[in-house]
């Protein structure tokens, strides 16, 4: 794993972070849920907590989809190429290329569209940047810079966990599997489903 030069992080008094979506994007609840799952993967491993707010301009993390030149000096390039970018702490700016064919549910590996990109995979990666991680050479890591189209990669690898915990420490309830250590509400749902079965 790597960090940005100077190792910027969110300060210890700002571990409960809010995020908001650019109102003009009018995202569906289903699309917003993708980001919630992505945030939960990082909060499961760390003391960080994330909650959505409707106040875009006061949110710690500002999420927006943009096309081409969107004013930050890093224009997007249309379908594929660069998919998204995010700024180091405490900027909180998280930009995605609106021209991509984002898939938010289903089995993306079976897509006939060669340019289909899994939104959750990209979101988990960019949140790593928002929290202070740079790119990793470990191919299994979320923070590896490239991702093929029609590919889903959302589970934190040990390299990601080591990196983020070096910055913020560990979540005491983290059990080493980002997919199964999400907050208690999800654990209760799983338990209830198991009882029913």
């Amino acid at each position: 794993y790597s960090t940005f030069p100077g190792t910027p992080v969110w300060p210890p008094n700002r571990l409960d972070l809010t995020y908001a979506f650019l109102p003009e994007n009018n995202l569906s609840d289903e699309a917003k849920a993708v980001f919630l799952r992505a945030f939960q993967r990082w909060s499961a491993a760390t003391p960080l907590n994330f909650s959505e707010t409707t106040s875009f301009y006061t949110a710690d993390i500002k999420i927006g989809f943009f096309s081409g030149d969107h004013g930050d000096g890093e224009p997007f390039d249309g379908v594929l190429g660069t998919l998204a970018h995010a700024f180091s702490p405490p900027s909180g700016r998280f930009h995605l290329d609106a021209d991509e064919n984002w898939v938010i549910a289903g089995d993306i590996s079976t897509s006939s569209v060669t340019t289909a990109v899994d939104l959750e995979s990209v979101a988990v990666h960019e949140i790593g940047h928002l929290l202070g991680l740079g790119h990793s050479s470990v191919e299994e890591a979320i923070m590896f810079p490239t991702i093929s189209s029609r590919t889903k990669k959302v589970e934190l690898a040990s390299d990601d966990v080591l990196g983020i915990q070096s910055l913020y420490g560990a979540n005491p309830s983290y059990n080493g599997s980002s997919g199964s250590s999400t907050p208690s509400t999800q654990a209760r749902e799983t338990s209830a489903a198991g009882d029913h079965h």
Partner: protein, 133 residues
């Protein structure tokens, strides 16, 4: 464009999308096996790519199409970062990696990296040497 799952993607999108794949970096495909000393039209665009992601640190006022030392050095660093064979040439594995979709954040910021190219190699770390008897 959001798709709740794969099936609702309008079939009409598919041919357009296939054509537009080449819009981003697919032009890099034509650089197959060119190496230091060559001059190939379009290499300037590849240099801009490497500059954008931090592999060529300073932006010259005018990138040329020459396969020069800056490009070779950038290639070596890129290949090391992405676990490719470090050839310093535009071989096919490297080109196949260059055209992959990726995060827009640079791999190297302010000339420093802690990806593979910033890690010490086995030749300059202290090793335990043993001798068989």
């Amino acid at each position: 464009r959001f798709f709740p799952n794969i099936s609702p993607i309008p079939p009409s999108l598919v041919p357009n999308v296939t054509a537009s794949v080449s819009a981003a970096w697919d032009a890099f495909q034509k650089f197959g096996n060119c190496h230091a000393g060559d001059k190939v039209e379009g290499l300037a665009k590849l240099k801009k790519y490497f500059n954008y992601f931090g592999y060529i640190p300073n932006l010259p006022s005018n990138f040329t199409d020459d396969f020069d030392d800056d490009l070779q050095s950038a290639l070596r660093t890129y290949q090391k970062n992405f676990n490719l064979n470090v050839t310093g040439e535009l071989d096919q594995p490297t080109i196949q990696h260059l055209v992959k979709p990726r995060c827009g954040n640079p791999d190297i910021v302010n000339g420093t990296t802690t990806m593979n190219s910033g890690k010490p190699t086995s030749s300059n770390t202290s090793n335990l040497h043993t001798v068989a008897h």
